[in-house]
Symmetry: D2
Subunit: 229 residues, 4 copies
């Protein structure tokens, strides 16, 4: 999935009630439908308990929001990458600013995810730290300034230099990783600006999951992608 040059748009369901249980499945279906109609590549990241049902309902990539850096065994209450994979996911977010990890565990998570057959999207809040996580060689790095997450003010409008700076710093240490960005993206214009700045995709959460009409936001995103391709 990450080999393609087409933008990848990952919708993070967080722990929003609007995207829990049956509503997670419904939202995933909407994302899939809009993406298919416009030939844009979307993925969804529902909660752990919803992965199996979402993955059974749609064919687009399903991501976990986190995995633990463990192997199978006596780890009650942890998230085993192999379990995430068995439930139908193909990737996982790692080190989201709402679930920060020790540096050593970011590295372990990327390795354990790969061993389990999952691709990794590792988050970081600054250009410098985005380069640092790129050194762990995940499939994707996502630059998300925490102060803009959920703010409705898009990183690509408010802090465009973070994206260009991240791209430069990441490419200095890793030529292959796909570079995503996120935080505050809610309109097609925000997305267009992000892609123009060098991002190869985005992570969007409340902008879609808490939207009154998610399909309209998603269609706007598709227009922005098409405009660019």
């Amino acid at each position: 999935m990450t080999g393609s040059s087409e933008p990848f748009l990952l919708i993070n369901f967080k722990t929003y009630l609007e995207a829990t249980g049956k509503r997670a499945v419904e939202l995933a279906r909407i994302v899939e439908k809009v993406g298919k109609a416009d030939d844009v590549r979307f993925g969804v990241a529902p909660q752990f308990c919803d992965i199996a049902q979402v993955a059974a309902a749609v064919e687009i990539p399903v991501f976990a929001q986190h995995v633990d850096p463990i192997s199978s065994g006596a780890f009650t209450g942890h998230v085993l990458p192999e379990s995430v994979k068995a439930s139908g996911a193909s990737g996982t977010i790692i080190n989201h600013s709402e679930r920060n990890l020790q540096l050593i565990d970011i590295d372990r998570c990327v390795q354990r995810a790969r061993q389990a057959g999952l691709s990794s999207a590792v988050c970081a809040g600054t250009a410098k730290l985005a380069a640092a996580v790129a050194l762990t060689e995940p499939e994707m790095v996502a630059i998300e300034p925490p102060e803009l997450i959920g703010s409705g003010r898009a990183v690509s409008k408010e802090r465009p230099e973070i994206i260009t700076d991240s791209v430069r710093k990441i490419r200095n240490v890793n030529r292959d990783v796909r570079i995503l960005c996120g935080a505050g993206i809610t309109t097609g214009e925000d997305l267009y600006a992000a892609l123009k700045l060098g991002a190869q995709g985005v992570i969007v959460a409340s902008g879609v999951a808490k939207a009154t009409k998610p399909e309209m936001v998603l269609q706007e995103f598709c227009k922005a992608v098409r405009k660019l391709m």
Copy 2:
């Protein structure tokens, strides 16, 4: 479920590959079948990603192995009690020795679980701490000395005084909570000893999940329960 005087036997699947994905569903079906045949009350605690499929396959209580002390919102990678409930679980383990929590979070988890419609089985490693967690008023307290977990040496044989001491200390602060015990229980004799000492149920993990023939272990458990009733 916890109001009954019949013993409750909770099978913890941990993150064992033997109890992940399809094998979690198969194991849960075996547990249900044996319990029905002998009229013994079992529950199962699979991994988060397996809860929905397990809960769809069996009618016995399904527990999560952990929940986070959060309400719905922006908590990427966390376990929302409402999500656990929506996937079909009726309860959750809290503060397992492999997933120890801050005291304040044990209390928050019990409250959040209740608000979401989940009963709580809170673990503690000593009689004193079992009484401490009983003060948070969960439905169940499970006394599990960490040094015996996974050891094959049963708490009810090796440290019987921990169970009697726990019962006494817990009853001093909480008359209603169901008292479970666990750690090293692998035979019917271990279970019988535990129930004789005052436990109203047990948590068993590797003794069943990693057994060559889980149904035989479960049937032995049933005999031990029937012998007592």
Copy 3:
């Protein structure tokens, strides 16, 4: 120190610059001087790096603000109870709401502190959790509702029922522990109310450490204590 029936007033220096380095020593001297003049029992809890110099400068009890539940060995960056003791402290705060611990570690800290010759003041935010920590048998329990800490609104005025409820619940499980309270206490009247409600002392932080004239606040506290004795 805790055997006495006289109130114990512990001044927590937190990580305030006003109470760091030389200013920690100066503040400790003021606390000692006022206490001696009025025969009121004060203690001070400076930062780790200031314990030795404060303990060398005053004769009143010096507390650490935290210890780690470790024994000597390879624990780089941790706080060994024996090191705290060797630097001249006689006690330690444990589980402050700004440094919450796992339940199991609260118990370990109390035990390790005792082995090192330190008394423990374990904090909790509610009456229920105050009783829970009292079960670990520390020398002192301090009830501090986190929402009032640093608020300037005194627990003894805003939430008097928390103190009476804590005293009742604690005494049900522990007859000997000294019961402190804290949060928002800044005036003699606040302190008087706390002692009237059954507290046997208080923890005060910003009310003294960030006061323009700490000695005046401390003298007011002494008046409140004398009024009661």
Copy 4:
């Protein structure tokens, strides 16, 4: 201190009783004496509570073993960089494998340390992660494979390629940072090998702190340094 081309040898006292309290001061004096005699640059990293007394007793650099990524304020039980500085330290270890930090906090600690006037020695267990922490621009990076720490088997003998690989990877992202290594270094030969491989210093703990005759080990180290210069 870090600008010089001379090797820097940092002795980590961990939480060894052999290097606690008065014995920390004694050990620091021995380190200083041997270093002066042979004109070799040593530093010492005692426990928090011992920093002030050690710094008052010796003139060589004193490091903390950890700082917290906080500013002054209401952070009971935390380690404020300004407090470490005020007690006489000139630097701090960060992210030791016995005190691993979140990636975001490593970056914050380096920045907070610098603001407080402390230099930082950030640890990492692999070449890849050493480069990652070098991106946070500390004064020093220390590569220490956790599996060799305290093993008596020197990183420079057992895994020489980790050092050369680290040097290469670090220099790709940071030309200025001083590169230390550590783990298992107990003899002059171990140290010589480390410096030959490109390390600009070492961190040594049990090899000195738990040695029967620390001065003899230190003198051996000096010979190794002199042989190289």
